[in-house]
Point group: C2
């Protein structure tokens, strides 16, 4: 299985909205085309950086159909199908597979600040999801779930559930966890992934990651870094990533998911950088700081739609 | 407005599932009939004690229609319409109003362990919801939202948004917060409510609460307590509540929402106490402990369906 595993850069496509917060289907298609032109290895949709938590189920279904149809197998698409209920997560995953998804990505079940699965409920939960599909599962290990997942537990899930073939680690001290996970899971985990805007990309590649799931901000700049690294040109990759890090850091710490929308709007890819309330637009100073920093890198996102 | 405010006991109706986790419509109607026979002042649906976090949007819509239709104005129904997005929460609230809801209940926006509204986004968020409806709003102040709401902020929301007429306080030190909230909001808040299974009912009534939103476990026993208290028979109410407290405490600390389903199943109201995974069924010892404790109170829930 390892020889066919997906590797490389799989950005999270944002969900563009019109100024009055409706879905922007035309913008959504342009986001997809931009990403493919940027040379991505695949696209992830409906993740939290796609504001999935602000969508209805109907909107989610409509976006799956729209995007899978528009991608038309040009690149593999990973669909996020997280839900607290195992039954609903399984239904969402099956629907994504039927629409043509190459993979589903799920966080462990969570709701709000306090509702979590008991430890003994976690393995059956993922087994229920896996039982509904035949495509690989990427397990997402991120703080938003409020569910600490040890490397040992992640390795156990990958080992006991054959479809759990990818784990995206974006929790604290990601590289150390990835290294331990790779050691424990071995061939049961063909796809250890880096995440969180690629802000720990080089340490994570060094720890065994074979892919990254960043935002959709600068995939054209991240692609060569990952390809260089995987081809053994580690110094070149490291130098390029360290050069890019201030921009990724500004995104991660000052902007969040608004950075990609802001640059896509500036670059003519989407008509509006609107996020759904209660998220607020970037304040003017942060907006200006992001643009100034991004322009120094001349990324495709600022040129594609112009 | 105060003179027509709703007061009394407004239990959260559970969402019964069949053994394979499908919605149980017949059981849902029986739950409603049991509650009305138990003398409740109203019913709340789709709250977290109704496992709303395990439902799809379609299931939610279907339950609103089913329950409002079956209640047929016998008692007022409060529909929980929380969602992270202001736009979606407003749509849900409008839909509930159109279906006949007397009130909507909302937590402040939250998603997972980490995504919250910025403070300045909270007032516009509730204004967007209020702008979509004409029925009162109950604001829910509970730990699950991970959003600390001070008495001053709650009072401000009640004062600046006329439809925010009820606040259910079930955060830490509820009575002190209720007392301060009542003092600050005055006539702008006709409905300060107690919540959390009525586990702080008497201190909260003493602080100014005029209603409670418990589980649906023992509404027949809670009704007289609240009515006695509101009629000035405080000693009688306090004695009865202190007698009931070990059962409520066992529910709150050992069972959670499974207590109501377990007793409703035992009493022949619903065919299965199933909760959706990853929630686990009560272990046998806790199940036995709950039944033994409940039987000492001979509640209607254990007799209604027999």
């Amino acid at each position: 299985m390892t020889e066919t595993a997906l590797t490389g850069v799989f950005p999270i496509a944002p969900t563009p909205f019109t100024a009055d917060e409706a879905l922007d289907f035309d913008g959504q298609r342009r986001v997809v085309d931009f990403l493919i032109d940027a040379g991505v290895d695949g696209i992830c949709i409906l993740a939290n950086y796609a504001e999935q938590f602000s969508l209805t189920d109907d909107e989610r279904d409509g976006l799956v159909d729209l995007i899978l149809g528009h991608v038309a197998e040009r690149v593999p698409v990973i669909v996020t199908t997280s839900h607290f209920s195992a039954r609903v997560a399984a239904e969402r995953s099956r629907r994504a597979q039927d629409a043509g998804a190459a993979m589903v990505m799920l966080l462990p079940p969570y709701h709000g600040a306090t509702i979590r699965a008991e430890a003994e409920g976690l393995l059956p939960w993922f087994q229920t999801v896996a039982g509904a599909i035949d495509i690989p599962i990427m397990l997402q290990d991120a703080p938003i779930s409020g569910t600490p997942l040890s490397a040992a537990l992640l390795a156990r899930l990958a080992t006991e559930i054959p479809l759990v073939q990818y784990v995206k680690v974006e929790s604290a001290f990601a590289a150390a966890k990835l290294r331990e996970l790779v050691r424990l899971a071995g061939d049961a985990l063909p796809g250890p992934f880096d995440g969180e805007e690629s802000i720990t990309l080089i340490p994570d590649l060094d720890a065994g990651a074979t892919g990254t799931m960043p935002s959709a901000m600068v995939p054209d700049l991240l692609g060569p870094i990952v390809r260089d690294w995987l081809a053994g040109r580690r110094d070149q990759a490291t130098t390029a990533w360290e050069h890019l890090l201030p921009l990724i850091h500004y995104e991660n710490r000052q902007c969040g998911l608004r950075a990609t929308k802001t640059l896509m709007h500036e670059g003519g890819i989407i008509a509006s950088a609107t996020v759904r309330a209660p998220m607020l637009p970037l304040d003017p100073a942060t907006h200006a700081g992001l643009l100034a920093l991004a322009r120094r890198h001349d990324p495709l996102v600022l040129r594609w739609g112009r």
